[in-house]
Symmetry: C2
């Protein structure tokens, strides 16, 4: 595949939520012709005001684009916009590329790759980490699975959105790398909340605790960034609990298929089920604190 | 208490293992008169060669010192060198200070504080993080519990050994803060090993995985520093599994006393029991990988 370029490559974008809108915006700014679709049209309006063109269906996006990005919430949504009625697959032409940047099932990434390959269409999975801030600042970490030649051709587009862009292997490998990221976060979040709960009950000043522990061998992005938010009782997302639950569910299912035991991930998954049961599915992942407090009949005051 | 100073304050040091020898060395370099005792005299020789004076018992160290440091392995060792036959308590004079820099029981720290207070002797708990490298470079994080005035007077000595020196509260608070540090490490280590196990079974290049996940919201000291050692199958300590087990046991007992549930810590404690059962009590904490591999009947090759 030849490298993409503005004026030559027509880009389509399906899914213009907080992340998707920011990412697609960078592509438009770089000068690419951009066609967009979103379930709720209103969320696409800022992009349309900057010169993107609306399409009424994912199929229509595909018909007008050489590279079609998807950034939708759940595997069922991805399946719908690609494979079902009015989906991408009914509009694509040979030589085009589908790039899914949402986080989802490695198995589905491979299924899309094979299904589209039969029509002469390439498929790449390229989930990201870095959240809404990374999307806005074009500083995402992008984890890519797909054919090396295709990935190389797409690089100028990835460089519009991300700073750390790594090709991990064939179709599905990007999703697997993202699962590694989520597995790494899962038990780390338990450790952050348990550290703070212990310190609170021991009567310590938790800001001093974070200062003492945050820069050494115990240090992590989570304790230094989410720790202070927990102390303020700021449980706004960041990253939604319900999306993290979805990701942990995928990782556990994949681990089951691969025949490995991940007891820490399983524990985190159950504790986050508790967070959701407490009504915090749309809070940020730091709301794990609420489940641990509830278990121990503790409620830390805001400091 | 007046601030300590070389030429005025006589310092004693009990416990000259890897950490203790490096820390006491900095105090000697700063010009303090130094008396040392260690169970195995040979380990104190390098300090003696630099002008420290040997004492045959902890009692004798105490008799000749204004500030007596302890840095020994387990709570039973601390109890022995302070309270039992030939212990510090039989040599101290009113106005002197005991400073325990080992990691141990908050309850024992309070017990020593009260026992010594009755003799007009101050007691401070000041455990550290930063390991042998931090001890050598005088860049330890020091977490302090004890009377504010005494802690203030000791600052010139702490500054010989550490960079981040934080007074967390009354006697025992330093040990509690260190327990927060260990609780924070416990589940984080599970997350690091599970991330790598998942990635290995998914067929990924684990060096690329660490690169993708290490600098974002999943990032931690552990994944970036211990992750690469795990890939090389380098399980040398760092920090001994058996010392970490001791610390987790203390934290779990304290949590029980405080009436809180720490399920992640409990899981980590059990997994590290498995590491010890596999013969790796004297390996570094990254040997947790071996227990998780064993559970899933996997053995990752060195890369």
């Amino acid at each position: 595949m030849e490298p993409v370029a503005p004026g030559k490559t027509r880009v389509g974008w399906i899914g213009t939520g907080v992340m998707g809108a920011a990412m697609a915006g960078h592509i438009r700014e770089a000068g690419y012709e951009l066609t967009v679709y979103n379930r709720t049209r209103a969320k696409a309006e800022p992009l349309l005001a900057r010169g993107a063109v609306w399409a009424p269906t994912p199929r229509e996006v595909a018909r007008r684009s050489d590279v079609i990005f998807t950034m939708v919430g759940f595997p069922a949504d991805l399946r719908q916009v690609v494979l079902e009625t009015d989906g991408v697959i009914h509009g694509v032409t040979a030589g085009s590329v589908l790039v899914d940047m949402g986080t989802g099932e490695p198995a589905l990434a491979r299924e899309l790759y094979e299904t589209l390959q039969a029509r002469g269409v390439a498929s790449v999975d390229a989930p990201v980490s870095g959240g809404d801030i990374g999307a806005r600042n074009a500083s995402l970490s992008i984890m890519i699975g797909g054919d090396a030649e295709v990935v190389a051709g797409l690089m100028p587009l990835f460089q519009c959105m991300g700073k750390l862009i790594i090709h991990h292997g064939p179709a599905g490998a990007g999703q697997h790398a993202k699962m590694c990221n989520q597995v790494l976060i899962a038990s780390s979040m338990i450790s952050v909340c348990e550290c703070l709960l212990y310190g609170y009950k021991a009567g310590l000043d938790l800001r001093k605790v974070i200062e003492s522990v945050g820069s050494g061998a115990a240090g992590s992005w989570a304790i230094n960034n989410l720790g202070p938010r927990i102390l303020k009782r700021d449980f706004d997302p960041g990253f939604f609990v319900e999306h993290f639950l979805k990701d942990m569910g995928i990782a556990l299912a994949e681990a089951g298929r691969m025949g490995i035991a991940l007891p820490g991930l399983a524990l985190a998954h159950q504790l986050y089920q508790s967070v959701k049961a407490l009504g915090h599915g749309r809070s940020g992942t730091q709301a794990l604190m609420l489940a641990l407090e509830r278990m121990s009949n503790v409620e830390m005051p805001a400091v």
